[in-house]
């Protein structure tokens, strides 16, 4: 048992900050994919013909009932199995994006249903097409109503992005593992990484609160 010495972390500041950068990149790209695919899945489940809606419902059911880690293995190895060779980073972003798209879609579906029917009727009666009504009237309101829940999913996404280190993506956890392999100081580095995630999480939560407040005001 050795004494704890957090000064071992200092020489690795650059590597850890690079890890933070990639964690942010993963989270942001995952968030963008999960947001738009979330809308797409929700709309497809509600309005698309059965041949499209049913497979998407099955996919959502499958991805809600299994761990993200398992899905990452499926996507990483599965894509190369069917002849699509993507770098680990892309597989990680796709995995995070699809996983959270399913959760966003679940929220968004309820959000779309809860938009008053009068809104659709009004839009249709002034000559909007079905797609236009969705795009300009229903979805913006649904997104606004579900913003807190989508924000929560985003907070989970930030933390879960740590899992992609398992398929070899050089984000924050991976940076720490690199440093630990040279220093043999897991405790100090993992505590540091935890602190960094905590700060990222705090920043994200504060940002989301601001956005929610803005939306409240503009209502």
């Amino acid at each position: 048992m050795q004494g704890l010495d957090f000064s071992v972390v200092t020489p690795y500041t650059d590597i850890l900050l690079l890890g933070v950068w990639w964690t942010v990149v993963l989270t942001v790209s995952g968030a963008i994919i999960s947001f738009f695919f979330g809308i797409f899945f929700a709309v497809a489940v509600l309005y698309a013909p059965k041949v499209i809606a049913y497979p998407i419902r099955f996919f959502m059911w499958l991805f809600m009932g299994t761990p993200l880690l398992l899905q990452l293995f499926l996507i990483y190895f599965g894509l190369s199995q069917i002849g699509i060779n993507v770098p680990a980073l892309a597989a990680g972003i796709i995995g995070l994006g699809l996983h959270f798209a399913v959760y966003n879609a679940d929220v968004m579906r309820a959000g779309i249903i809860s938009v008053d029917v009068g809104q659709t009727e009004g839009a249709r009666s002034i000559g909007f097409g079905r797609l236009q009504t969705l795009r300009y009237i229903v979805i913006p309101q649904a997104v606004r109503n579900t913003l807190p829940a989508i924000g929560n999913n985003l907070i989970v996404l930030l933390k879960e992005s740590s899992l992609v280190s398992i398929i070899g993506i050089a984000e924050l956890v991976h940076s720490a593992q690199l440093a630990i392999s040279e220093t043999f100081r897991p405790f100090e580095f993992y505590i540091t990484v935890a602190a960094l995630y905590y700060i990222l999480n705090l920043v994200l939560e504060t940002g989301l609160r601001q956005v929610e407040k803005q939306v409240e005001v503009s209502r």
Partner: protein, 215 residues
């Protein structure tokens, strides 16, 4: 689909699923104890206890569960904590889910109408009697759903212990994907078993909810 392969490896997965169940049940029990302690701390009259409760919840919910497991399992030996993977997995998951369940418990207690407490106090119940005989029985009903959601999250979260080499479902899947190069078949088996476990739990939660529902 390579069905003969799926049949051949299936027994390994059943064994692994049993480990997943064990890990989930044990960490659920630990998590409930932790949650009860933290929820009481957060609702106590003492400022120090409240601060501790809030600190615990914010740290365990504000950092990835994976990192918490790594601190415990890889960092533990540096501060004299030597755990085997299974024990580290149960303790790590239990401490983590405890923070989430503490909020479910607190939510349930806060969900009991204020008038219930006032009425109980008026007819001469002590504070403890009010809590035990009036608040908790009603709060317990309100907790069933949120705690059920926590439990299902925990089952999926238990996949994380594969990273500290506990041979459970996800670990086994990873191994077989690596050795057979059949990611879809292997995923299918593991997914099926996770679904069965989660389905059983959600049925149990539904049952409890219906049995104890207020209406």
């Amino acid at each position: 689909m390579d069905f003969p392969l799926m049949l051949r490896v299936f027994p390994f997965f059943v064994e692994a699923a049993w480990v997943t169940v064990q890990i989930s049940v044990l960490s659920l029990l630990l998590g409930l104890v932790v949650a009860a302690v933290i929820a009481s701390a957060k609702m106590s009259g003492s400022f120090a206890l409240r601060a501790f409760g809030s600190f615990y919840v914010s740290v365990f919910r504000g950092t990835p569960c994976l990192i918490q497991l790594f601190v415990l399992y890889f960092g533990g030996p540096q501060i004299g904590i030597n755990l085997d993977p299974f024990a580290a997995g149960v303790i790590g998951l239990g401490l983590n889910i405890g923070a989430y369940m503490a909020e479910s418990i607190r939510g349930g207690i806060l969900g009991v109408e204020r008038g219930q407490v006032e009425a109980a106090r008026t007819i001469g119940f002590s504070k403890l009697q009010t809590l035990r005989l009036v608040v908790l029985p009603q709060a317990a009903r309100l907790m069933i759903r949120p705690l059920g959601v926590n439990a299902i999250g925990l089952i999926k979260g238990s996949a994380l212990v594969s990273t500290i080499s506990v041979v459970e479902l996800t670990y086994t899947a990873q191994r077989f994907i690596g050795s057979t190069y059949k990611p879809f078949e292997i995923f299918g088996i593991a997914a099926l078993l996770y679904m069965i476990i989660i389905y059983a739990v959600s049925r149990a939660v539904d049952g409890l909810d219906r049995r104890y529902a207020i209406n």
